[in-house]
């Protein structure tokens, strides 16, 4: 060693301090790690990219309900439905949000939305809010502006061609300014439009030519009183609100008088589908006199329009300029999404929502600094108050307000939209909705379209729910002669149902064709044919003993909770009655019958007795 140049002191200090500090720190690291479990259970679902270690603490056997029976934890893991960080091995890292994992455990709403990622059908048992949300998305016409997978644009908005024949400019101005002031049941959302946007839109709409109107009837003086009677006998109130009653599916007719021009109304009633090819209203067969009487009745309810409009004062040049601006505004506000107008394509104008479920609340703007618990709540707020998340100074959102939407429905919409994710799922995880049934082809199909049967009746999972009776299986339930008469003159069978089939004046030849189609194509395979007859007397006794009269009316006795049985001998197929009494109410529309199953002999006896009524 060179003693003349000793090692400086700092080298010793640094070396030994560092060496022993390192040894100490490594011991700390070793000790910390020794606290961890030596073996860990993890759920691997390669198809979903899931690695869940939740079962290090939680036991899948403790899962409440039977959800795991249908969703085996081996196949789904935990985080697909529950969120959180599956890979984590500490409670905080697994449950809470962190910079590396901004998906904490799902809230109840997010869990329900997660169901919808795989389940694509409109309704899903066990997920009521999701199902409700999907229904609202369809009913409210959200798809007019937003592309939403799985939801088709319903015909809820009228075509606007020929609007000049239908309403006055003043009415359209008032409607665009505040639809709620004109119709409490309005379906069109409230757009925020200043007058300087409304006037051009009106000008644009009134420049659109529509189909020519039907020439007015020349026969005698129309009688409003007769018109009122016709409205009642034709059962317009099944769909329309009339004098404050009924309706809910179509516009309030008491408003029609002050809104619609009589000539247009007359054309609609006499030649519905030429004037309005896409309307949901069936093509009634009304005589010109009948139509004129109804128009007279509607006109009687006319409320004078006091609104002033500068419309008439505009020169043609001004109108032309306004029309061009109006066309732009009309497109800008996304109106063509729901309404057909001129040559404008019906394309969604707003952002597609097919990947909304992947947005995270942390990335979305906040309303007044108020934190949102989850994505469905954020969407619900946005739907109820579209401007809630507008950034200061930015252009206000163009989205219209859905005033009548309840908080529950708004949250349901949020859940349905939060379920939409574009990321591809492995095919065998997707539960698709039942494929859409094509409507019947040929002449029968044309009649089904003309009378808009599927607006009210369900068929093969499609169609409306206004009527309590789906068309599926109807061919096995009723007799030919009765159906033929019923189509021409629908008598009310079920007093408990508020919706009555409208009297559309189906002609005998049309009824014949429809009856053939129903009987030949719409049979229920569960109903066994050719059941032997029983004994009517024993049947009558059994009817009494089983207290059928507590719901059914027969021979002047009983109640009207269920269908009236007088005349059922000509109406019901006895095989149907036997099957439903013996095998249970699965074959009954809506399964509205006691679930009790009778012995075969007794069922045959009662059916035989009913066949004699």
């Amino acid at each position: 060693m060179n003693d003349e140049a000793p090692l400086p002191r700092w080298t010793h200090v640094v070396f030994f301090t560092s060496l022993f500090a390192t040894i100490a720190m490594v011991f700390v690291v070793l000790y910390r790690d020794a606290q961890r479990p030596v073996e860990l259970e993890q759920r691997l679902v390669a198809a979903l990219g899931v690695v869940d270690r939740c079962e290090a603490c939680h036991d899948a056997a403790d899962h409440p309900g039977d959800t795991l029976g249908l969703h085996a934890v081996e196949r789904f893991g935990c985080t697909v439905c529950h969120g959180g960080q599956g890979a984590a091995t500490t409670a905080d890292a697994a449950h809470l949000a962190s910079p590396s994992w901004e998906r904490p455990l799902f809230t109840a709403a997010e869990r329900e939305a997660a169901c919808g990622t795989c389940h694509e059908a409109a309704t899903l048992a066990g997920a009521p809010a999701l199902s409700r949300g999907r229904a609202v998305l369809a009913e409210r016409g959200c798809v007019g502006c937003h592309e939403i997978p799985g939801i088709k644009l319903p015909e809820i908005a009228p075509d606007l061609d020929g609007l000049q024949d239908k309403v006055s400019p003043a009415w359209v101005r008032a409607w665009l300014a505040d639809p709620g002031a004109l119709n409490v049941d309005h379906r069109m959302p409230q757009f925020t439009m200043p007058d300087e946007e409304i006037d051009p839109i009106v000008a644009f709409l009134f420049s659109l030519e529509g189909p020519a109107l039907t020439p007015a009837a020349e026969a005698g003086a129309p009688d409003p009183a007769r018109g009122r009677k016709f409205v009642a006998t034709r059962r317009c109130a099944t769909c329309h609100r009339i004098e404050g009653r009924g309706g809910g599916f179509a516009p309030d007719l008491s408003l029609a008088g002050s809104k619609l021009s009589p000539a247009w109304m007359f054309s609609l009633l006499t030649d519905t589908h030429r004037l309005r090819p896409h309307t949901r209203m069936p093509g009634f067969r009304l005589s010109p006199e009948e139509a004129a009487d109804i128009v007279a009745y509607a006109a009687e309810q006319w409320v004078p329009d006091t609104a002033e409009t500068p419309w008439t004062a505009f020169s043609p040049e001004v109108k032309r300029d306004l029309t061009a601006v109006g066309r732009f505004e009309f497109i800008e506000h996304g109106c063509p999404g729901c309404h057909r107008a001129g040559d404008l394509p019906r394309a969604p104008a707003a952002m597609p929502l097919d990947d909304l479920g992947r947005r995270r609340v942390v990335d979305l703007p906040l309303a007044d600094g108020a934190a949102m618990p989850d994505l469905p709540s954020w969407i619900a707020t946005k739907v109820r108050v579209p401007t809630a998340f507008d950034l200061p100074g930015a252009t206000p959102s163009l989205m219209p307000a859905y005033r009548g939407l309840s908080p529950d429905d708004a949250l349901a919409v949020g859940i349905a939209l939060a379920s939409l994710k574009r990321s591809p799922l492995p095919g065998d995880y997707v539960i698709q909705s039942t494929p859409a049934q094509t409507p019947p082809a040929g002449p029968a199909g044309a009649l089904v379209d003309r009378y808009r049967c599927l607006e009210c009746h369900e068929l093969g999972g499609q169609g409306g729910h206004i009527a309590g009776v789906p068309l599926d299986g109807e061919g096995s339930r009723v007799q030919r002669g009765w159906l033929l008469r019923f189509l021409q003159d629908p008598v009310t069978i079920r007093m408990d149902q508020s919706a009555r089939m409208p009297v559309m004046g189906i002609s005998e030849s049309d009824a014949d064709l429809l009856t053939d189609w129903i009987l030949s194509s719409l049979a229920d395979p569960r109903i066994t044919e050719g059941e032997a007859l029983g004994d009517a007397t024993r049947g009558a006794a059994a009817y009494t003993a089983r207290a059928c009269g507590s719901c059914h009316m027969s021979r002047g006795a009983g109640t009207m909770k269920g269908p009236v049985l007088d005349g059922a001998g000509a109406r019901l197929d006895p095989d149907y009655v036997v099957t439903l009494l013996r095998d249970g109410p699965a074959v009954v529309p809506g399964e509205r019958h006691p679930a009790e199953r009778l012995p075969g002999g007794e069922a045959r006896d009662i059916a035989t007795w009913i066949a004699g009524l």
Partner: protein
Amino acid sequence: MRAFFQRIRDSVFRVGWPADERKALLAMRSSFLLHLHAPKVRPASLRLAATWGLGLLSLFLYGSLVLTGVYLMFYYIPHPDAAWRSMGDLEFVVPYGVVTRNLHRWGAHAMVAIVLLHLGRVYLTGGYKAPREANWVAGVGLAVLTLGLSFTGYLLPWDQLAFWAVTVGSKMVASVPVIGDAAALLLLGDQTVGEAALLRFYVLHCVVLPVALTGIVAFHLYRVRKDGGLVTSEHAPEPTEGPRLWPAWPHLIYRELALLAGMVALLLAASMLFNAPLEPLADPTRTPNPAKAPWYFLGIQELAHYSAFWGGVFIPAAAIGALIVLPYLDRRTAGLGRYWPPERRWANSVFLFFAAFFMVVTVVGTFFRGPAWALMWWPP
């Protein structure tokens, strides 16, 4: 029996413990690791302020990065479906996984910083001048490789930070006129950052760049000795008493060991105190706001904010080019071995000006840029 073990020891350590100067000199020649140093060194080179140990620290950090990198490779899977998940495994289940990743991450940051400081030190003391021109160029190459290693390693966790920093970086490459698109395609193996890019970056990070760096480091160390060791000032006082040269053992070796121990301790302490960041899984549909590169690239990103090509490519490339040609242009040999000699005032001022400029843009890019790269006066 003792003789048996003695024979084994003698076969490895030919000289034995260098207890006296003669043995020390023998050891310095015969030991593989020690012979990298001259057997005797000038006392002036041993002063801490002569180098601040920066070159050596760079080397130690590189060694520790290779070591921790190899550990990480046992668990890392270079595929978009699995890379981020393997980060989660390191965090949650692999014993010492977190600390290993932290050592690698903080070691990489430290290496970039220290390599750049080393470059600055060599410049200021005129270490690039003859006969050291080639070694200076090699050193510039090492600095560039270090940044390349850092850039390629940045993508591997496959989190949002990684994905978007590399997307931004590759777009800068693509902004080069004429060859930009081809170069970006070569780098990414595809039009966008994806599976091919991850695999390329992995191979570059774990094989190509380390092999290149190791080779150039060997050349660099060899030339340090062959070019006469550390550049020292002609004004440095000669020792008035004692020998003019000191044996490297223990004077140099022990100082180096102390530096190594200090560095390991500091790195380990930092890795126990601070966890390496990990952001959410890379999502090509969602850009974080702002998307920021690692701090040592934020200066370039700040410049690229004004012009992707001029700021992001041209200025950095011109700076590197200038550093490479510098020793062949500046041939005066006065004022070497000192940080602020009167003869080099002008040269050092220019360098410090550029260094300060780069530091300013880096600080601006790091602390004063908020969402949408907008200026903001208060760091979040």
